[in-house]
Amino acid sequence: MPMVLLSCDKDIPEREKHVYLKVDGEDSRDFLPVSNAPTIPGTLSERGCAFCGAKLVIGGVLKDTIQMIHGPIGCAYDTWHTKRYPTDNGHFNMKYVWSTDMKESHIVFGGEKRLEKSIHEAFDEMPDVKRMMVYTTCPTALIGDDIKAVAKKVMAERPDVDIFTVECPGFAGVSQSKGHHVLNIGWINEKVGGIEKEITSEYTMNFIGDFNIQGDTQLIQKYWDKLGIQVIAHFTGNGTYDDLRCMHQAQLNVVNCARSSGYIANELKKQYGIPRLDIDSWGFNYMAEGIRKICAFFGIEERGEALIAEETAKWKPQLDWYKERLKGAKMAIWTGGPRLWHWTKSVEDDLGIQVVAMASKFGHQEDFEKVIARGQAGTYYIDDGNELEFFEIIDLVRPDVIFTGPRVGELVKKLHIPYINGHGYHNGPYMGFEGFVNLARDTYNAVHNPLLKLAATDIRAAKSAVFKEAAE
């Protein structure tokens, strides 16, 4: 059965290599969707750009760093406030947005002077802030502005500031995944190891690939505090620029999002000999397993068991209440990549939910190996899906709820199928024990909310009229 050519793809048959239907007895040695490949002409991708992957996903999370976007104003605005990653210092990263606001004349005559002026202006306006990331964008990369040289010049003039440059224009890769890669590798090669922080615990680790979506980092930081483990750096949830320069000091790298941040964990292992431990932070069972592994590494197993017992006693009854009411619900997960394999078994085991379709925007084949190993037979696995494919898959699997982003979410709402924001969450945090109860609550409210069914009824007519899409 394997790879599937959907009816809507009859004119772009290359899409068959990107859509897989798992059947019993098959595994990823037999079929593996093509992924992290250029979007096929003729299909309208849901992907983001490489610049977005660096800035919106990773750099823009930091709570003490100016994010200077060297490009037209839209590149800054459209990667600001579209993700919810609060901080414990008043949400500095979400309050402000910076851009060199490039216009036609700067493109014609070059933008380096404008960038230099903008950097000075930003530091002058915010004298307490001494750290900055500068991003090139499509137009400034095309005209060859040397942002590294400008950053070097400013740092020479202002010895108290430090600037990291990210040369990853939107066109640099096939999706936002390229931006993750460029920022990871740039950071380890240019910034890690420069400074050292005070070590306050016998046990130290970096927590990598968690971006404090609606407070994820802050929630699970409570666990590390209780266990007595010092987190040297959060990459990058609620994180600081200088903490990230100290990543080499950790004894262990704990990785949640292996897609966006596996690169830096690999390099920390290669360059500094720090082991990489991958865990799943979403789900009761998974979170307990992650805590057990971390504690086993440090030899503090008793502390881990005490924490798990405490959290389980507090949250399991609530989780079970939702599980009773969600059993058998059908879910689709259409997000970036890793949440497919993080979530498919956790919602199945912890909530009794059946995942019937999963689509990844920027996952690589490694992600599909993981999700096909964990996912069920009869489930669709899609790389770089487009709108028409989503509609066809909905007809095939009839999900009760879809975890996806607001863009696709607004589309499925028109079909009166509830969606939950799988990127920024509805009412998170979703990580950890408490977080998974939040996820269960949002799922329950979505699946059992009568509003979408009511919205399908047109009360103006004598009898109900079914709303038709424009394409029908």
């Binding site: 596996g262 082991p275 057990r292």
Partner: protein
């Protein structure tokens, strides 16, 4: 010890363990070798070495896996030491075959991360 028993352990590892799917073939091989060796020691009721950072990592992953093996597959507690060795060798071979040798992942052998 039977192929069916190896298959039960293999299915568990496929579903639960992220270490088999690290980025490159040499990472996967290192994890599979280290964790299966540590798990074999634990199943033999001996403590694996934990001196080096990577040994501690293998122990942490193996400890969780062995606890689950003993809970989910009680027959494992009845095996003779030679059968355990044979079982774990079979598991290791299956993992190498699936995640390295016959993997269709085109990024497995890139020289850089």
């Amino acid at each position: 010890m039977s192929q069916q028993q190896i298959k039960q352990l293999f299915d568990y590892v496929q579903e639960r363990c992220l270490w088999q799917f690290h980025s490159r073939s040499w990472d996967r091989k290192e994890n599979i070798d280290g964790i299966i060796a540590a798990a074999t020691d634990l199943l033999h009721n001996s403590h694996p070495k934990t001196g080096a950072p990577m040994d501690k990592l293998f122990y942490a992953d193996a400890k969780t896996m062995v606890a689950d093996f003993r809970g989910r597959f009680p027959w494992i507690n009845e095996l003779e030491p030679t059968e355990i060795t044979e079982l774990m060798t079979g598991l290791k071979d299956a993992l190498v075959d699936h995640t390295i040798t016959k993997s269709l992942n085109h990024e497995l052998n890139h020289s850089l991360y």
